[in-house]
């Protein structure tokens, strides 16, 4: 990643300006929580910052950022699952568990709830492609490179996702 040797701070700032919003949206679509989404994106940029001089990235910076956020989200979800499991064990054991902080709660309105349900019902690959396109704002070609798929497959999966959304939500349109 040669551009990082130019002027490290400026380059990271430019990358932040360019991709922060899209990466945040993509992370939120995976995590469903604003604070966590920002934290995940910040983690990735911090890592980029801290290792900026020795970092070796063999693909484009953009692809690196998206892939890093994706993996960071998966880690975050795994950690959350462990915490949830622990909480439910405590509850089953009769231990009083305090409510989560209000800031962590997600209050989804009916429409958003329906949408999220439909998205959750999509097959894994289809959902990932949809998220990268809709929230990560990547083009078909970029998604194909990111996931190691053909552009045709991405196109077919996007069509599948949108057809499913239309079919399930047409009564709201």
């Amino acid at each position: 990643m040669t551009i990082l040797s130019r002027d490290h701070e400026q380059v990271v700032e430019e990358l932040f300006a360019e991709y922060f919003g899209k990466l945040y949206a993509y992370a939120f679509s995976m995590l469903g929580e604003e604070g966590m989404a920002e934290e995940v994106v910040q983690n990735v940029y911090c890592r980029l910052w801290e290792k900026r001089e020795q970092l070796q990235v063999h693909t484009s910076v953009k692809a690196y950022l998206y892939r890093s956020v994706h993996h960071e989200c998966l880690d975050s979800l795994r950690r959350r699952k462990i915490v949830k499991g622990h909480r439910s064990w405590l509850q089953r054991s009769g231990v009083q568990v305090t409510a989560e902080a209000a800031s962590g709660k997600i209050e989804l309105k009916e429409l958003e709830k329906r949408l999220r349900e439909v998205l959750d019902e999509l097959p894994d690959q289809c959902r990932t492609i949809f998220r990268l396109s809709r929230f990560g704002e990547l083009k078909y070609r970029e998604i194909a490179v990111q996931l190691g798929l053909s552009v045709k497959t991405v196109e077919a999966q996007m069509a599948k996702a949108l057809k499913r959304l239309r079919e399930k939500l047409v009564d709201l349109l």
Binding site: E13, F20, G21, E34, E38, R134
Partner: protein, 363 residues
Amino acid sequence: MDELLIKYLLGEADPDEIARVRDWIADSPENARRFEQFRGVWEMSRGVVPAAPDRGEAWERMRQRVDGGLGEGRTWRAEEKSEGSRARPWQVAAVLAGLLFVGGAVWVAQDTERPAPVTAAAKKTADASTKKIKNRQTADPVAASDTIQTLFAGDTGRTDTLADGSIVTLGKHSQIRFPGDMKREGRNLFLEGEAFFSVAPDPSHPFIVRTDNITVRVLGTSFTIRCGPKLTEVIVKTGFVQVLHDSDSVVLKEGRRYVVQQKKPRIVAEDRGHRAITRAIIDDLVWFRIVPNKDSLRWFGLDNSQFVVDGRKMSDSLHIEFRSKYIGPDGNGYFYGSPGELKVHGRGYFYEKKDLYRYPGNP
């Protein structure tokens, strides 16, 4: 055909495919309706994700984290809703009036009757054209940009086209600030005073207008905002919009209204049926911007350059496709009035709002 419609919608279609899709959509109201449904779910799906935190503030948080030695693996959280635009992004304080037309056009005013005075510095250069300034310390989110452009209006107001193709009409003694490079830094604007925006559609780059106490996020659709001292309401005409008020974030669909009265928000359904549609059309025809669809243009024997309303040339971007926008029960669009009652402008006949009100059965 659905695959092709989706490619077109996502900007992935090649020129031949674009032509095919456009022909297909124009072929029948059913086709247009099907495309609108795909467009609707696509726009609506964006609403699942809230607006990103202000980028400038997020960058500062990251710098503090790095400078403070909070490295990878340390616990860290954004201070949500602590200050600035994230803290109280949608406090509506009774100072906004608005309209939005097809493709997204919104009128935002801090006080429609008494426009907020611009700063002394702004007045000094009130009639100057666009001015570039360097400012990274001011409170508004646009200040995160390296180069801020400021557009001032003097005693008469002014109309300009922004770099993204959106048209802004500033009220007198009003100003907007926006990033010098909107493509790279986002379509974020900060407004003082009043302005009418005709927003160029670009689903991947939301158009966001902030004032001191309210933010409007355009998702590429049409809606009306009305704000007064006692009441603020957002009425969705077509598609979907995201409304944020205090900590509330709501995606509103067509025919719904978001009303804030005495600081209490509620969502109500618009009346259904002909009367509601009529009212929606009339709302769209506020001001002098009365726009026929392409069929009407053809019928009048006009082309776009000859299309004049109240002495003003209308552009392509202001054309409203009434027929597809307001589809009637039999699949046809709604049309109102008759040429005999209408004013003649140049070679064409055009409706005015009062003509529509005069029409029997209209509210």
